[in-house]
Homo-oligomer: 411 residues x 2
């Protein structure tokens, strides 16, 4: 029997990370691996109450098929929530998706033919890389600096792509507390990105899972809100601000032609998102409000972020060029280790010492980043964070020694 | 600003049916349009109880991200449910999908490059046609007879495809009470399909949403259960046997290489299906059992089916070659009208008379079927069925008269 697989998938491998993370699911491992939201942040009692009510009194609606565009109740609640944030949208500008990963899948389907170019950060979100790869998109990495994507490097890459005669379609960016680095794109660079997009007739795909998880510093307007032309398509998700298990997100575009194509494509992709989960989120927003809940989450994450920064300062060797980001929001801290270290290789030692992280290379589309790692502070307790970073620092120290003496033996 | 759309979507239009069906959502219209399960069949009280328990006691699990393969609880409950049906599977042979439409999306991604051939029925499921179209699959229609897909026609089409040098990949079939026609594939033809698939090295995609909704006649084994080679991938969905709003289905393959590609692809598509909805279905199966519930649904649908058959016999003109299927299960009856009638055109008259159906042409990949229509008996009451068919018969009679006298005036 032949292999039967499409060209699209026959080259691809299972994500090494996701496989590694399975190993780290042993209960005695302190894992900074998965970017999991804190379970203590889930408003489960309220959701239990809402679920019971909806299933008793509104079952003929929430257990039935829904429209592809999404429930009116959810879209209307979302509009009311966006308004005080200075974002005015109509119901027709919103498409409910089965979490933001589906949003990425739809973007690929609707805008990209094989070989078309997407610019994205070095590093960028792994799930986006996987979606882009599945659709044979040519992913062109752009350096990420302390204030986000390098405009200079982007200009250089655009020139190269033009020279090569490739079809540029868009820029993928996570402007706030980027996954994986925690880095935020500056206001000035947001303006520049928009100008470049206009000049080159590109779309900007603004992935915004963490924008509402700022616990310090000043808010920066979304690129979407600065765009008069409809070049920006924004992905908002409930995964990090409410809970991941609902698999719920909203895609926003002000262009009816693009929305029409997105809706048609979602019809063929999963018909509609669960109306039950949509109503859970909508009723939570209407009955309790998302803002109070967000304050609670921000407090939880801020404490955890501080605990991790403190632990890193306390335990991690300061020499050898080791440094890390100090994000004002989100779920992640990014660590650069000495160039001799390969964090993928080092993970075996870490797991042996009962601590886990995600090797950074997986987030780079250009095969660099071997000496970086992503630490999620979101789902561990304060004690686990301190102890885990202590263990990790030991692993790093041992690895440096091992590399310096030129051996590869296990610590 | 340019159009920005991919070739994949720039040709496509919104489904005319789904748009039409929106018109028919006025409350005073009796709609036989959407294939909606009967809301009175949803076990909402039990689900309300389970939802409350899971959200109170298991929230850190059900509100969190899950594994791509699907919840163990659901897969294990599913295995136990399949066993008495003579289907033995392991957990590793099951992939939970965000309803079967996602199953179709994954099949397209994993097995088809643009231009590859899929054989499917004339007529076949509209959602499948939409998914295949999105992936630029070459859909080759095969005549459907009273006992399912014509083997003779399939052989002829295979010969033609070979002659044209196209790449054949698979056969898409809904063997039990097919959507839209209600027709069931005979045991003999199931065997023949398997033989042909083996001879030509094709896969069979067995879509099985209605197999458990048989209310008369003898059960026929699934093609999957007759396949020793792993050529058959089965799609099972909870939409029609529990409720559609959970957006939950299970894909079954015994080939680990295909499962591996499907799981990788689902990772990039939506990461994972909601663990909350998975646990609702699993706990319902474990605590209450699906069989008792199925007995109830079968009774409901059997009464509705009988009511519709009776009404058709009572009201519909017998001459002019009008006839319809008399399915022993499922949700649909299929009607052939005289060749002069275009059911798409006639729908305006029907809506005016406050009754709706789906014009059959949408289910044909070869632009035929203009004189056919699909009637869903699942979501109307017995009274609505009688009254709706009475109205529809009037519309048909008037249309015949109008066509016979060669005019196109509205009735």
């Amino acid at each position: 029997m032949k292999q039967h697989l499409s060209q699209r998938v026959s080259g691809a491998k299972r994500s090494a990370i996701r496989e590694l993370l399975k190993l780290t699911e042993q209960p005695d491992i302190i894992s900074f691996g998965g970017g999991l939201p804190a379970p203590e942040s889930f408003p489960h009692k309220e959701l239990a109450e809402i679920a019971h009510q909806e299933l008793m009194n509104n079952y003929a609606n929430v257990l039935q098929y829904g429209t592809t565009e999404g429930s009116r109740t959810l879209r209307d609640a979302f509009i009311e929530w966006l308004r005080p944030q200075g974002i005015e949208v109509t119901r027709e500008q919103l498409l409910v998706t089965t979490a933001s990963q589906q949003g990425l899948d739809l973007l690929c389907k609707v805008f990209f033919d094989p070989g078309d170019v997407m610019f994205c950060g070095l590093p960028t979100y792994l799930g986006a890389i996987q979606a882009f790869s599945l659709f044979q998109i040519d992913k062109i990495g752009v350096l990420v600096e302390d204030d986000g994507m390098s405009i200079e490097d982007l200009e250089m890459k655009i020139a190269e792509v033009k020279l090569a005669g490739k079809q540029m379609k868009g820029i993928y960016v996570i402007p706030d507390f980027q996954n994986p680095s925690g880095i935020t794109l500056s206001l000035e660079k947001r303006r520049q990105l928009l100008e470049i997009a206009k000049r080159e007739d590109l779309l900007i795909f603004e992935d915004n899972p963490y924008g509402h998880l700022r616990f310090a510093g000043e808010e920066i307007p979304s690129i979407y809100s600065m765009d008069p032309e409809g070049r920006v398509i924004m992905l908002f998700t409930f995964s990090k601000v409410l809970c991941a298990g609902l698999r719920l997100a909203v895609m926003i575009t002000s262009r009816p032609d693009l929305m029409d194509a997105l809706v048609r494509t979602k019809q063929a992709t999963d018909l509609c998102t669960s109306k039950l989960t949509q109503h859970l989120a909508a009723r939570y927003m209407l009955d309790y409000g998302l803002e109070g809940h967000l304050d609670e989450i921000r407090l939880i994450y801020s404490e955890k972020r501080n605990a991790m920064i403190n632990a890193l300062e306390k335990y991690m060797p300061k020499d050898e060029g080791i440094h890390w980001t100090k994000p004002d929001g989100g779920l992640f801290i990014w660590v650069w280790l000495p160039d001799v270290i390969d964090t993928h290789e080092m993970l075996a030692q870490a797991v042996e010492r009962k601590v886990a992280y995600v090797p950074g290379a997986a987030f780079f589309v250009d095969d660099t980043g071997h000496n970086t790692m992503r630490l999620a502070f979101s789902s561990s307790t304060l004690e686990q964070i301190d102890e885990g970073i202590r263990r990790l620092a030991d692993v790093v120290k041992a690895e440096i020694v091992s590399k310096m003496v030129g051996t590869h033996e296990s610590v």
